[in-house]
């Protein structure tokens, strides 16, 4: 990343934020209240004091060998009811193949299957 | 102060000097196997008219002529014994520390049958023509068919958390089986189906610690003309009518050694090794010898005009029957005597802890 590195320096995985799976997003329906959204997606790690009508779910994983994956999901509310969401790099429905996800990368921290 | 000298009142009393008034004549003495072993067992010989049958804890059983001390036959049972040798009708009965009762043919010691019970058999199994009764360490009285060894019935009397080592042997009669348990209760059962005829509390647990609440009936009850004499540890000495179970008399006396009845007199060794004689009818004390306290005396036996007890150093003390004074003293063996003594009124048989067995007779000086 920043400067020219020694060959093969072992770096640790740095994982930040929420794991957001396709199944979670599938459960979101407009009209839910905040408590229900919080139950499905979990407590947002970034709870910005400035305004409360949007919740930001951020997820990133930088693996030791330099690969970087980022996913964001922002959920919008009108008052207490959930209206819609938008996000970046959201998970598509995983194909129901039987063998393990092809890159079967089993790092210490979870990598959504389609990274 | 008391910190350094060891005479702090808990060690056995020294032997008392006295002028012997009788001679102790030793008929014969022989070794009979390795004796009691490390399980603090109290294996005792069984006696019939002319033979006695003795076994050591490793299962070496031998039949010895009572007069000559010669071995008629012996047999290695090849099992660790915990209780025995009991007398059935035509059978010898022993109990193993793995909980098995063995019935052996009285003529040659060959095994008739063997049955596994629920725990260690620390008391001598007893039987008659129809049944054999055994009291195991877990407080269960099991009654088996004398011929096949099959368990007919059993009665559980769970012992308190802390008990004395060993259990009391039951008394088997055609009409009832009497058994003293380590929770201080004496019970009578119908031999055929185990129905409880009556039940009598011999010792009441008192105090707060496990030690104070120990109330074992350790000695087997003595049945004489319809009256059962039974003693309890930290309990009472009682005479109970065998039929109704009604107590005739009872006095406070704590004992764990076998008691001996002879001509209307009851001889008993109390838990502090005092030797006491009571009148069998009313329970009044006749005399008490407290010169051998804490010597871990065995139960007394009567032979003619004298009483015999043995202690943990192997000394055999002969007392005068009427006043308990010392008459004579000899020593069988340094390993001490734990097995109850036996007398046929004339000869006294003593089995030492390391297996030495001797027969003595008291002759006037």
């Amino acid at each position: 990343c920043q400067y020219f590195q020694f060959p093969g320096v072992h770096k640790i995985n740095v994982q930040q934020g929420h794991v957001i799976t396709e199944e979670m997003i599938g459960q979101l329906e407009p009209g839910m209240n905040k408590r229900q959204v919080r139950f499905i997606l979990g407590t947002p790690l970034i709870d910005d004091m400035f305004n409360d009508d949007r919740w930001d779910y951020y997820y990133s994983l930088k693996t030791g060998d330099g690969r970087f994956f980022k996913r964001t999901l922002t959920v919008y509310f009108d008052g207490d009811t959930y209206t819609h969401y938008e996000g970046e790099n959201l998970p598509e429905p995983t194909p129901e193949d039987d063998e393990l996800p092809e890159n079967n990368l089993e790092p210490d921290t979870p990598v959504p299957s389609n990274s | 102060c008391s910190l350094f000298s060891d005479k702090d009142g808990t060690e056995p009393m020294e032997l008392v000097e006295f002028e012997p008034t009788v001679e102790i004549e030793r008929l014969w003495k022989r070794g009979t196997g390795v004796g009691q072993g490390d399980g603090y067992t109290r294996l005792e010989p069984a006696f019939d008219s002319e033979l006695l049958y003795v076994a050591d804890y490793r299962g070496e059983l031998s039949a010895i002529n009572r007069e000559t001390g010669k071995v008629q036959w012996d047999r290695d049972l090849d099992t660790v014994l915990a209780g025995g040798v009991g007398l059935g009708s035509g059978q010898l009965l022993v109990g193993t520390d793995e909980g098995e009762v063995l019935a052996l043919d009285i003529n040659d010691g060959s095994e008739l049958w063997r049955t596994q019970l629920s725990s260690e058999i620390m008391s001598t199994p007893v039987g008659d023509a129809t049944v054999v009764a055994a009291h195991t360490l877990d407080g269960r009285l099991s009654v088996l068919d004398a011929s096949t060894g099959e368990v007919l019935w059993f009665y559980d009397n769970p012992p308190p958390t802390l008990t004395l080592r060993g259990r009391s042997s039951p008394v088997v009669t055609p009409s009832a089986i009497y058994a003293g348990f380590s929770n201080g209760r004496l019970m009578a059962f119908n031999p055929k189906n185990g129905l409880i005829l009556w039940e009598q509390r011999v010792a009441m647990p008192k105090g707060r610690s496990d030690l104070e609440k120990m109330v074992d009936i350790q000695a087997s009850p003595v049945l004489v003309d319809g009256i059962l004499y039974v003693s309890g540890y930290q309990g009472r000495l009682m005479a109970i009518s065998r039929g109704s179970g009604r107590p005739l008399w009872g006095i406070d006396s704590s004992s764990y050694q076998e008691l001996w009845y002879d001509e209307n007199e009851l001889f008993i060794t109390e838990d502090n090794s005092a030797v006491v004689s009571y009148d069998a009818n009313g329970g009044t004390e006749k005399w008490r010898n407290e010169k051998m306290l804490r010597r871990l005396l065995t139960g007394p036996v009567a032979a003619g005009e004298y009483i015999a007890v043995a202690d943990d150093d192997g000394y055999i003390h002969i007392l005068n029957r009427n006043n308990g004074s010392f008459a004579a003293r000899t020593n069988i063996d340094g390993s001490g005597v734990r097995a109850p003594l036996w007398s046929d009124g004339e000869t006294i048989y003593v089995l030492a802890n390391d297996g030495k067995l001797a027969a003595y007779r008291i002759a006037p000086k």
Binding site: F6, H10, T43, T109 | Y40, E98, S118, P159, T163
Partner: protein, 864 residues
């Protein structure tokens, strides 16, 4: 008659609070009282038991209660207690409300004796007895004197298990903590009956059976019985074993949360296998950990066996409840009052704001322990109150001295007065940086050294360090053959992790080395004897002729022998002067660029005094071409810990070294030789004393080769003799010299040998080092703080070899097993505030003739 109470007054109270009196009497202000009420009140007050006398009277409409308090216990003195400490007895007394300052009531006496007796019976001392005396003191106080006779502890004489066919009694008894009286019972006290220990033993038997498929195992009853004299205890366990159950089917229930295949892989039980409770619980643990790694920190997994008694099979179902996936809100550290927060946080593998992973949290804890800065590291994961899926991870550490600091003022026979100070800190003021400053001066060595290393120069653990040193030492005094060196130099070092447990390290530096031989330096260093340029020599046979003439009294022949001049070392073509020394060939000043490369792998569980895991290190040191010297040294060190039992650990250690020269350096410089012996190498032998010896320095041999009968008496006496020439040896048996004092090597000039080869001070080292050591580490019985102590029985074997021994070297062999020096003994290491101290006592088992044993070794500051 009756009267109305307006107020109540109590007199005579000293220790009892007024509240107790008011709560005892049923009278309140405002009641109207009759005599009957007054009597009842008096009786109530007496019942409280705190007063010796109570009288109630009237003063106008005020009810006056006069009381006389019972005496208070001023002091409880306990004597005769050895096994149970007085504090513990006092504690059990206070629990029963009997302590100094309490009111002395009639029941107090037997309550005290009962409480104390119960303490003793709880410890199996049935024979204990307590008697009490009460002594009156002024001012209404009493003193209670307690006389305790602890009696004998009941010792377990026999433990019998009835009903066990599958496993023999002694196989089961091995599981027991309680044992029958054995050899070591007087120390361990394992033959003292204790109820808690018995319950523990019973549980161990039960799980022993459950682990082997005996699902229907049942402990029917336990009897504890006592011999009449209360000195022996007998324990009988009655069990029914039941049958062995085999696993018929394994499946999952509940929400596996991650792909079922990952979970299946964690289950150790297979169909057809005998059921084992241990396997079931371990499988549940593996699944819980696996879920933990995925962030389900609070997952609960439980294996439920369902017995089918007909066919003796069992269906095992694992119920999985993953609960919410948890995220780490904050990681907190407690106890690091000196160490900086970043030094701990950089070891963390778990990130704040990331999914909580049990494996990473546990791994972070191990990494903290590996730093060696902390005596104890504990971690617990705590739920954040009010938030379902967030946790805080709290680490608590206990710091320990992570370096040594010392000022030594000492005297040793081989180094004279020593003044040395050193500071070696691996956690310099808590910054995690390693700093070493040392200065020492003794008559054999003056050394200054500054070492600095930052293990976390970059956040990923790339380390960078510097080291500068100056050292001048005269090795003659340190068991190494006579020469001294002056060296100074410095290097830059850096390293980085290539995996979680492996690191590469490099350093490169400049070194200026000057070797100063002495007149008695061994011949391998400089060739001796030294000849002047005008020296010349004759042959041995010519010497014999001369000696012949001298003894026959002939005049000295004027015809001179034709002696050949002694060549200088450089042009000594036919090696008349013997092997040239290293310095003769390579000169005395060496300027070199020295580079080191190293690979290290460590999975030790603790930085200091590890007890599990292994560590290896492979290092290559080379003097780079372009410097005056060209050589390389390869060293490999490894150690491994293998726990044998709960208390004993086996430690295997080895270090191997191979060095050789290359390019223009003909042989490995002697000052780069390996040495062996002493701490950190082969204990039981003098420091650096093993292995090859150098050959003694030799002086020139000039026999009498000229004579003149000055006094003309026809006899040549000593004063008339003179030596002029040196002698070339042709054949050692030709004679003409005294073999005890001179050496004659064919083709070389004869020399005066330097003395017997006994003194080991000329150990010379070699280019092949082989060392191994096996140790059994055991805990000291009486030491509580085991973490800074390590004691071990050891067997050390090793030696230094040389692949091309000099012709004249002694004790110099190529590698051979029977040449290894072996010693066995007992070693102790103590991490004190001044740094590690090590002691060892040992006996040699196999040694070479010249090895110098040293039964007792002590050293400070070195850890081996």
């Amino acid at each position: 008659q009756t009267f109305r109470v307006n107020d109540i007054r109590v007199e005579g109270l000293q220790r009892v609070s007024a509240g107790t009196v008011f709560s005892a009497i049923p009278i309140r202000v405002g009641d109207t009282l009759s005599n009957l009420d007054v009597q009842r009140a008096t009786r109530e007050l007496f019942k409280v038991g705190l007063f010796t006398d109570v009288s109630i009277g009237r003063d106008g409409d005020v009810l006056v209660i006069m009381v006389e308090e019972r005496p208070a216990i001023n002091e409880i003195a306990i004597e005769g207690n050895k096994v149970i400490k007085t504090e513990q007895l006092m504690e059990s007394l206070t629990e029963n409300g009997l302590s100094e300052g309490q009111i002395y009531q009639s029941a107090t006496l037997n309550m005290i004796s009962q409480a104390l007796e119960r303490e003793y019976i709880g410890q199996g001392r049935y024979g204990a007895s307590v008697d009490l005396e009460v002594e009156d003191l002024p001012r209404n106080q009493v003193k209670v004197l307690v006389e305790i006779d602890e009696g004998e502890t009941a010792r377990i004489r026999k433990i019998n298990i009835v009903g066990n066919e599958a496993f023999a009694n002694d196989e089961l008894l091995d599981l027991f903590e309680l044992q029958t009286t054995g050899l070591f019972s007087w120390i361990t006290g394992d033959d003292k009956y204790n109820r808690e220990k018995l319950t523990g033993d019973i549980e161990r038997v039960e799980s022993y059976y459950l682990d082997r498929g005996y699902l229907a195992f049942n402990l029917d009853s336990t009897q504890v019985s006592l011999s009449p004299d209360k000195s022996k205890v007998f324990i009988t366990l009655n069990v029914t074993e039941g049958d062995v159950y085999t696993v018929s089917d394994v499946d999952l229930a509940g929400d596996p949360a991650i792909d079922e295949r990952f979970i299946r892989r964690m289950i150790l039980m297979r169909e057809g296998q005998t059921f084992s409770q241990a396997l079931m619980t371990t499988s549940s643990e593996y699944i819980t950990n696996r879920l933990g790694n995925e962030g389900y920190t609070f997952a609960e997994v439980e294996g439920i066996p369902e017995r089918n008694d007909e066919d003796k099979t069992v269906k095992v179902t694992f119920f999985i409840d993953p609960k919410k996936r948890a995220y780490v809100r904050r990681i907190n550290f407690r106890g690091n009052t000196t160490t900086q927060d970043e030094v701990l946080r950089r070891e963390m593998r778990q990130m704040e704001g990331g999914a909580a992973s049990t494996a990473q949290i546990e791994h972070s804890k191990v990494r903290l322990e590996r730093l060696g800065f902390f005596k104890e590291v504990t971690v617990d994961t705590v739920e954040v109150p009010g938030v379902a899926d967030q946790v805080d991870v709290d680490f608590t550490v206990e710091e320990q001295p992570s370096g040594s600091m010392g000022l030594q003022l000492g005297y040793a026979e081989y180094s004279g007065l020593i003044i040395s100070g050193n500071i070696q800190q691996n956690n310099w003021f808590g910054t995690g940086k390693q700093v070493g400053i040392s200065a020492s001066h003794s008559n054999y060595q003056t050394a200054y050294n500054f070492r600095y290393n930052d293990p976390y120069f970059t956040v990923d653990g790339v380390s960078r360090g510097f080291n500068i040193f100056y050292q001048s030492s005269d090795y003659a005094r340190a068991n190494v053959s006579g020469y001294s060196t002056d060296v100074f130099g410095g290097n830059v070092s850096f390293g980085y992790p290539i995996s979680d447990v492996e690191r590469l390290s490099f350093d490169i530096g400049f070194r200026n080395l000057e070797v100063k031989p002495t007149s008695y330096s061994v011949r391998e260093i400089i060739n001796t004897p030294l000849y002047s340029s005008s020296a010349s020599y004759i042959t041995q046979s010519e010497l014999l002729e001369i000696q012949e003439k001298i003894s026959s009294g002939e005049d000295s022949p004027f015809v001179p022998y034709d002696p050949t001049p002694v060549p200088s070392l450089q042009d000594d073509v036919d090696g008349v002067r013997g092997q040239p020394g290293f310095l003769d060939v390579h000169g005395r000043e060496f300027h070199d660029f020295v580079a080191n490369a190293g690979w290290a792998k460590s999975t030790l569980n603790r930085g200091v005094l590890a007890t599990r895991g292994a560590s290896q290190r492979l290092g290559i040191e080379t003097a780079l071409p372009g410097g005056d010297l060209e050589y390389y040294k390869v060293t490999y060190d490894a150690q491994m810990f293998q726990p044998l039992t709960r208390h004993l650990t086996l430690r295997l250690r080895t270090s191997l070294g191979w060095a050789d020269s290359y390019g223009k350096t003909e042989e490995l410089p002697f000052f780069e030789h390996y040495y062996a012996g002493g701490f950190g190498s082969v204990r039981g032998f003098e420091r650096n004393s093993l292995g090859p010896r150098g050959t003694y320095a030799e002086s020139s041999f000039a026999p009498y080769t000229a004579w003149d009968d000055v006094n003309g008496d026809g006899v040549i006496d000593n004063s008339e003799l003179a030596s002029a020439y040196y002698v070339l040896c042709e054949d050692p048996d030709m004679g003409g010299y005294n073999p005890a004092r001179q050496t004659c090597r064919p083709g070389e000039l004869m020399t005066n040998s330097g003395g017997q080869v006994t003194d080991q001070s000329r150990s010379f080292g070699g280019n092949l080092l082989v060392e191994t050591s096996a140790e059994i580490i055991f805990p000291l019985p009486f030491i509580e703080d085991q973490r800074s102590f390590q004691t071990a029985f050891f067997i050390d074997a090793g030696n230094v070899f040389d692949t091309n021994c000099g012709a004249t070297q002694v004790n110099c062999f190529d590698f051979a097993l029977d040449r290894m020096s072996i010693a066995a003994g007992l070693g102790l290491t103590w991490i004190s505030a001044f740094g590690p101290m090590t002691f060892s006592v040992s006996e040699a088992i196999q040694k070479n003739e010249l090895d110098d044993e040293k039964g007792f070794n002590f050293s400070m500051g070195q850890t081996f």
